[in-house]
């Protein structure tokens, strides 16, 4: 499973990567981008299976990245997990409207991340079954 972790704070990328590895994802398959723009460039050239992105980033924010992904035919089915600092209703509703698959509030543990991922894949599975 190839995962792109997007955050402008490299420590945070490292944290997310560590957690994903802790959950059993393959470390070499996890790649990193430091903002929406570079993430989008990587998504266009490489096949990824999931994006975990921070919300607040310079240049291109997480929500803009999400919108760009949904607007691009080749990428629009890509699951996106949004990392937010706040459990802010408005933000999350906006993200849901933009097509986010899940959200997770910092700080989180591996268990919470697992839970969120499970939910995302359950839903994907469901939509796959109905497609």
């Amino acid at each position: 499973m190839k995962i792109l972790v997007v955050d402008d704070f490299s420590t945070m990328r490292r944290i997310v990567r560590n957690l994903l590895v802790e959950l059993g994802f393959s470390n070499p398959l996890i790649q990193e981008a430091d903002d929406g723009e570079s993430a989008l460039a990587m998504l266009r050239t490489n096949a990824f299976d999931m994006v975990v992105t921070d919300w607040n980033m310079p240049n291109m924010t997480g929500i803009d990245l999400l919108r760009a992904i949904r607007a691009e035919p080749a990428l629009k089915g890509l699951p996106v997990l949004m990392v937010t600092a706040e459990n802010n209703r408005d933000q999350i509703i906006a993200a849901a409207q933009a097509g986010v698959n899940g959200y997770i509030v910092k700080p989180f543990t591996a268990a919470t991340l697992q839970e969120k991922l499970t939910k995302i894949f359950e839903r994907l599975a469901a939509s796959g079954a109905t497609a």
């Binding site: 945070m12 490292r14 944290i15 089915g77 209703r89 849901a96 894949f121």
Partner: protein, 649 residues
Amino acid sequence: MDPMFDSELRDAFLAEAGDLVQRLGDQLIGLEASPRDSELLNAVFRAFHTVKGGAGFLAVEPMVQLCHHAEDLLNVARIGQLLIDAERMDALLEALDLLNDMLAALAGGQSMAMPPQGLLDRLSPAGRGGQAPKPIAMPVMPPPGDGPIDDAEFEALLDSLYGGGAPGAPAASPAPGGSISDDEFESLLDNLHGKGSAPGASEPPKSPSSPHAISDDEFEALLDNLHGKGAAPGAVHAAPSPTSSPAPAAPASRQAAPPENTVRVDTARLDALVHRAGELVLVRNRLISLAARHGDETLALAAAELDRVADALQTAVLGMRMQPVGRLFQRFPRIVRDLSRQLGKEVELVQEGEGTDLDRSLVEALADPMVHLIRNALDHGLEMPEERERAGKSRKGKVTLSASQRGERIVITVADDGRGMNPEVLRRKAVEKGVIDDAQAARLNENECYELIFRPGFSTAATVSDISGRGVGMDVVKTRVAELGGTLQVRSQLGRGSTLELAVPLTMAIQRVLMVRVGARLLALPLSNVEEVFELAPGQRQWLDGRVVAAHRGRALALADLGGWVGVDGAPGSHVVVLHIGHLRLGCLVHAVLGREDVMVKPLGPLFEGVPAVAGATVTGDGRLALVMDLAGLSASDGQLLPSLRISA
């Protein structure tokens, strides 16, 4: 608390957060000047936000709280509902200071207290009684709903948006015999939006009116309803299974992680590298000298090659230690801002040449002396706004920091356009304070009068203020600069302002020295202190005021015998090396001047600690030992030469 709290992660966080916080100081000052700069507001907001996120993972609750409050205030400012005024800026800057302390505490493994409630209150957007921001008008999202959203709500929201499918997936049309009936979907919408109101095409779904509109149980039931109990996950998107992660589809090397252009290196490792490069330079020097002695052409060629490579390596390694002087400057806007508020003066700080590179150790070593010079310029140099107006100047005083490279030296000036210094006043004060006597005072020229401010025990301030009078005089600054192999000079023009010019050698690791011989001993004199070299003509030596001097360039140059200092018997040499040491000019007598050399100074070890004027030792090109002198140590704190330097004859 957090299983991932390991020291490696903490170090990474400290380094990265440290960078952010360092920039934050500058950004906040910039923000005060242009409080509506949205880009700056965003950057400042994001910095607090990012540090908070990282601190959360490290479970550093005080830091999370502090950043959270600062971020809140900035967020309200960011959406244009509040202006960061001077008082709020005070609070933000205080928060920044506290954040710095917290980072230091985290680095030192110390515990930290929660931020004081007083500060948090001042950071609160509504902090100053009754100034609560107007409720945010949200044209798009109807009820602002400050409450957090929970998982159940989010899932329900997704359901309402995609009918149980995943975003981006083919539209999940309710399949015949499928997972959700029209009735069920209607009831879900009712649940979400209240009976009757449906999300229109142009109207986004409203958020649930209460944070707990759906309980977890209800949500589970709903999911069952949507997917059918025990519905197997589809084959297309399997749930992630750690044990069966697919093999890499493509070689990972095609596009590796985003290009990392910089690598953080521990400064100790950098210093070790500089050290090794320095040793290589020493070996090179020996080899060149060997090759010259043996007249072996192939050896000379190889030595020349090594010479070239070692030179390039040395330059590259030293370059790695270089930092733009802007790093030194960046703390000053804050200091100037705080000071000018405290003094009631209006000050504009101008910076020039921030890109000039300076040895890292100098950036740190110069910080305190520079702070003092700036304090001095603001406190003593600049006048009060009214006084400036009366003198026909603008109310706002100007302090200019500039840096430039001149040959092997970096010159930093602190210039103010304030009242300037009056030589007569300085002369009188110096006599009053017993720094010099009347006769000496009468002999001083204008420039020498200005130099009086560097004498111990001299301070022109009528009252010792909180700002400059911290027990540190300009003499201490001058001494410190001299210890760094630098010089400090002052120029002034009455009514127009003063300029302090600080010059330091480009680098500290490898010193360019003048090698001299005294008796059989070799001494390395830092070239940055050397003004000139000349040979004493017969009869040039004279006695003046009980000291031996040489008449040189129309002035009396005090002479000192380095032989006496290193314990060499016999007559002093006739070669004179003119050194400037702080405000002292001194002609040192040596037996021979051997030439310039780049040397790496090796410390002598604890046995020799505290021996004045010795910086260390080095190995010369021909393999001999030379003492590297720390010339600032040749004169005692009262400006008097060490007794052993006196010429008795």
